[in-house]
Every structure is written in structure tokens, then in C-alpha cells.
């Protein structure tokens, strides 16, 4: 610790700025900032649960209706609700990452952050941690409601659920990094891109249908996306009671590649923003 010797009243005692502890401290500080933000608005808190809850209700009732038909697929317990809940893990985590980043731009705070000792990787780490916390706030009540209303227990997926969760969250971070980078470079005009990016995955990652439904030429693209393996795995467990762990390892390996690509893209866009001077013009 270094103590300043100037007569400034309560002089600041500055902790060492480099090293793991310093990084963890700054990441925790940013997470605290996001908690302050969420606490400042009750509406935001309700909104976090509102949309996934409505989504779950809609698909839950559809599932109930189909269960009354003779289709064996429709009678498979909870396939649709399971798909909805897992998709929401991906979507909400991605939205949590992107929205929190955009929030810094709306409030014209990014210049303060980027000139402070906060490193870009620490900002990314804080956004990632926060996306998981937000996801918890958003999904735990909805998962509980799915059990209470439709008798669907997501935890029946067992240990595979943990792996599914990890794959989907890692994918969401890759998407979040890419959209944050694009917004950094092109400003809030590119906000729509951030909102819509996850939806590109909706048809391709086979959320509600098996990969085999896709045309042959599209199947390799679908299989190159980590979430596809999650949704295939979930259907395999719920319909056949079996699960191929190799699929999950493949998904995690793909995630590692996408995450690295996402971080490199974010860093590149940040550097371009510094070159183009767009960090000076960010804000509403």
C-alpha cells in the first residue's frame, strides 16, 4: 500500500493496481455497480422474470394440448417446455451481457471506465459474471413455476443440465462479446444488431426440432453451433433416456473456439473505436 503524503484530509490509500487480487477487486466492483443498477429499478427486476415466464406459460399450455393427442413425440414429457427453458438460458444470458454493456453507453459512462485502471478483460469478466447472476434471478422462479404449473422439473435432466447450462452460457458470452464490439465501433445505431443476434441461432441450433429435419447442406452448419448439441442431448434424454457425453465435449470445444473468437473480435473493435475516435462520441 502506498500512502500519499499531501495534506488532503482523508488521503486515499491506494492498493496495488496490478495482479490477480487487483483484477478480482475491480471485477467485483463492476458487479457491485450492476447490482446497484438493478436495485435502482423494481420494474427491471420484474421485467427479468416477466418475459421468460410468459414464454414458459405459452409453450407449457401448447405442450399440454399436444399431450392429449396421439403423437408419441408430443406425449414425450416436457420436450417443448424443456426447449423453451434451455433456449431462454441462452437468450437471457446473452441479453444480460449485451444490455449491461449498452447501459454503460446509454449513461455515457464508458469514457470514465476505459480511462480508469479497469482492464477490458476485467470488464468482460464482470459482464460475464453478471449475466449469470441475472440469469439466476430470471430463470430460477420460472423453472420453479414450470414445475408447479406443468409438473415439468428441469432438474430431471440431472447432471447433464449443468453441462447444458455451461454450454449455453458460454455461447451467450461469445455472442455478447461480438455485439458489444460492434456497438463499440458503430455506436448505439447498431443496437438492433445486439438484440437480434441471438435469434440467428434459433432456427439453426434446432431448438424445437431435431437436426435431421434440416436440409443436408444445412446440417453441418447446425452441428458447428454448440447449442445444437444441447438441444439434441435434451431430446435424447427426455425421449429415449440416453445421453451421449461426447456430444457435450464437442459442444464445449466449439464454445472455447467461439469464445476466443468473440474476445478477439471485441478487442479488435475496441481498438478500432480508439483509432476512429468513436469512444468520444458514445452515448445517447
Amino acid at each position: 500500500m502506498s500512502k500519499l503524503s499531501t495534506p488532503l484530509g482523508a488521503v486515499p490509500v491506494i492498493l496495488p493496481p496490478a495482479g490477480l487480487n487487483a483484477s478480482l477487486r475491480r471485477i467485483a466492483t463492476m458487479v457491485r455497480r450492476y447490482i446497484y443498477l438493478l436495485r435502482s429499478s423494481g420494474i427491471r427486476l420484474i421485467e427479468l422474470i416477466y418475459w421468460p415466464f410468459l414464454q414458459m406459460l405459452t409453450w407449457g399450455f401448447l405442450q399440454k394440448y399436444l399431450a392429449a393427442t396421439t403423437s408419441p413425440l408430443a406425449q414425450a414429457a416436457g420436450v417443448l417446455i424443456g426447449s423453451v427453458l434451455l433456449w431462454d438460458i441462452l437468450f437471457r444470458s446473452k441479453i444480460g451481457f449485451s444490455t449491461t454493456f449498452i447501459e454503460e453507453m446509454w449513461s455515457r459512462n464508458l469514457g470514465n471506465l476505459l480511462t480508469s485502471p479497469l482492464r477490458p478483460f476485467e470488464l468482460v469478466a464482470a459482464l460475464s459474471v453478471w449475466s449469470v447472476i441475472r440469469l439466476g434471478v430470471s430463470m430460477v422462479p420460472v423453472v420453479a413455476a414450470a414445475y408447479l404449473i406443468f409438473g415439468f422439473n428441469l432438474l430431471d435432466l440431472g447432471l447433464a443440465l449443468v453441462a447444458f447450462f455451461a454450454v449455453l452460457v458460454l455461447t451467450s458470452w461469445s455472442l455478447g462479446l461480438l455485439s458489444a464490439g460492434v456497438i463499440l465501433r458503430y455506436g448505439l445505431g447498431a443496437e438492433e444488431f445486439a438484440w437480434s443476434l441471438a435469434f440467428v441461432l434459433l432456427p439453426l441450433s434446432c431448438v424445437y426440432y431435431p437436426v435431421a429435419v434440416l436440409p443436408h447442406w444445412l446440417q453441418p452448419i447446425a452441428l458447428a453451433l454448440p447449442p445444437t448439441h444441447v438441444f439434441e442431448g435434451m431430446r435424447s434424454i427426455l425421449l429415449h433416456g440416453t445421453f451421449d457425453a461426447t456430444e457435450l465435449w464437442l459442444a464445449l470445444a466449439l464454445d472455447a473456439v467461439y469464445l476466443l473468437a468473440g474476445y478477439l473480435a471485441f478487442s479488435w473493435f475496441l481498438q478500432r473505436a480508439r483509432v476512429n475516435g468513436s469512444l468520444l462520441q458514445l452515448g445517447e
Partner: protein, 286 residues
């Protein structure tokens, strides 16, 4: 640090002296708060900053003075590492700000009208966050002191977005002074404030600089501010340094009573000889 290249002077003996200062200080850059050499920023076809060189001595308060579009904000942004120079170098306490800004990030801070603190957070929450980012161990004590000093104690638990312009400026200054920076970069620190509040802010800055032995670089087009605070003035126009002198030397050289008159002389293309009546004034063609 790489081998120092010698800068060729472009304008007269004053420019030569300035370049000599830059070249000398480059060798001992770690003790120099700011050393800028041949700094240029080009956006597309627009040259915002054009080969400027200067140094800031420890404990000095220097004003970057210029009209709109003179390059003041871009220069400060390059000093902060927010903008990457097209060419030239910026060193802050010896650190190359394009590559190693984190070596010195906790030793400086800034305030600018181009950035805000998050509106939904209370003042205390905002200051707590920045105290955490700057690694201030005694944050509660420090925030309480700064708040009292800048008379914002009563505002601490109010949302930042609900404050008046003057109150926001004081809160922004509190954030900028939290880590007691050795180098304080201020971009239009009293813009859009009433004269009383602006004067009060200037007094606080002066007190801080004296107490901390801090170096201040102040971008402004407010002459009263510059006269009150700065002991040296760098006059910018169209991204170039037109003058770099102590305020009193500038007044004497141009034979003027105020820096405003000197500023008008300079940006309208009147040399100090013309301004003093030694030659017929020739307005710059526009």
C-alpha cells in the same frame, strides 16, 4: 523506451526552445507528467491534431486554449488513451499511453462534459464504484472527505440524474479527485456553469493543485478560467500549436491586457508585432 528521435523545429526560436524541452524531457520521461512529441491525429480527411509537441512540468497548471475544433478534446483523449494517435507519441509519467496506459492509470484522472456518471445510481454509489476501480482501500473515509470538501455531502444519497448541472459538475470533480491524482486532465471543467459556481470550482482546483503538488492540464475556451488557473498557455488552432508560453509572457509579448485579446490576435492571424502596432495588421484570409 525506444531511441529518441530529434524533432525538427518548425517555427522560430520559441518553437526551437519548445522542441529542445521535449527532446530533453524524453530522456527523463518517467519524472515528467506529460511528454507529447509530434502528436498527430487524422480522422479521414480531417487533421484534428497536427504534429504538436509539448511537455508538462511537475506541479504546473497548463491550459490548452483554443476555439471549437482546435483539437483540445482530441489531444486530451490521446493523453488518456481513449484515442490512438495517427503518429507521434504520448508519454504520461514515462508510459506510452497507446500501449502501456495501465502502468500509470491510477496516477491520473479526468473530468469531461463528454462523459457522465450513471444517472440511476446515487452519488455515493457512483463514487464507491470508482473508489473500487482506483483501488482506494479507505473509500468510505475518502468519499466522506471529498464530499465535505466539495459540499456534496447532502447529495450523496440522491440519484446522480436528479442533480442540477452545477451539482453534477461537483460530483464529476469528486470522481476526478477521488484517487488524489498526480495528473488531472480537465476538459471544459466549468462549461455551462453560472459564474459563481464556476469561480468556486476554479478555487477548489487551485487548492487541490497546491495541496497535492499536482499537475493540471486544462482544456478550455474560457479565458477567465485560464487566467485564473494556468501558469502556462498552449494556444491551439486547427490542431496546431500557435503559442506555448507563460500567460504573463504572452500578455507582454502581444501588449494586451487580457488573454482573450491575445487569443483573438492569434486566431485571427495577427502576429505579436502587428498586435503591438509594430506593423500593419493582416487578417487571415478565411
Amino acid at each position: 523506451m525506444g531511441e529518441a528521435a530529434i524533432i525538427r523545429p518548425k517555427r522560430g526560436t520559441q518553437a526551437l526552445a519548445m522542441h529542445e524541452r521535449v527532446n530533453e524531457s524524453w530522456e527523463s520521461a518517467e519524472t515528467i507528467p506529460v511528454a507529447v512529441r509530434d502528436l498527430t491525429k487524422v480522422y479521414g480527411t480531417v487533421t484534428a491534431v497536427d504534429r504538436i509537441s509539448f511537455t508538462l512540468a511537475p506541479r504546473s497548471t497548463v491550459a490548452l486554449l483554443g476555439g471549437n475544433g482546435a483539437g483540445k478534446t482530441t489531444t486530451i483523449a490521446m493523453l488518456l488513451g481513449l484515442v490512438v494517435p495517427t503518429s507521434g507519441e504520448v508519454r504520461v509519467f514515462g508510459a506510452d499511453m497507446s500501449r502501456n496506459r495501465y502502468q500509470v492509470a491510477e496516477r491520473l484522472n479526468f473530468q469531461s462534459p463528454y462523459v457522465d456518471l450513471p444517472m440511476r445510481l446515487t452519488v455515493r454509489q457512483n463514487l464507491t464504484v470508482y473508489a473500487g476501480l482506483y483501488g482506494i482501500a479507505n473509500a468510505i473515509e475518502r468519499i466522506a472527505f471529498i464530499a465535505e470538501d466539495l459540499q456534496i455531502t447532502a447529495l450523496l444519497d440522491r440519484p446522480t440524474g436528479k442533480l442540477s448541472a452545477g451539482q453534477k459538475t461537483r460530483v464529476g470533480l469528486a470522481k476526478a479527485l477521488l484517487n488524489a491524482p498526480e495528473l488531472l486532465l480537465l476538459d471544459e471543467p466549468t462549461a455551462s456553469l453560472d459564474p459563481d459556481t464556476a469561480d468556486w470550482i476554479r478555487q477548489k482546483l487551485k487548492e487541490y493543485a497546491d495541496a497535492r503538488d499536482a499537475t493540471i492540464l486544462l482544456a478550455s475556451h474560457n479565458m477567465a478560467e485560464v487566467e485564473r488557473l494556468a501558469d502556462r498557455v498552449i494556444l491551439l488552432d486547427s490542431g496546431r500549436i500557435l503559442e506555448d508560453e507563460a500567460s504573463d509572457v504572452l500578455l507582454e509579448t502581444y501588449g494586451r491586457e487580457t488573454l482573450e485579446d491575445v487569443f483573438l490576435d492569434v486566431v485571427r492571424g495577427r502576429s505579436w508585432r502587428e498586435a503591438r502596432g509594430d506593423a500593419a495588421p493582416a487578417r487571415r484570409a478565411s
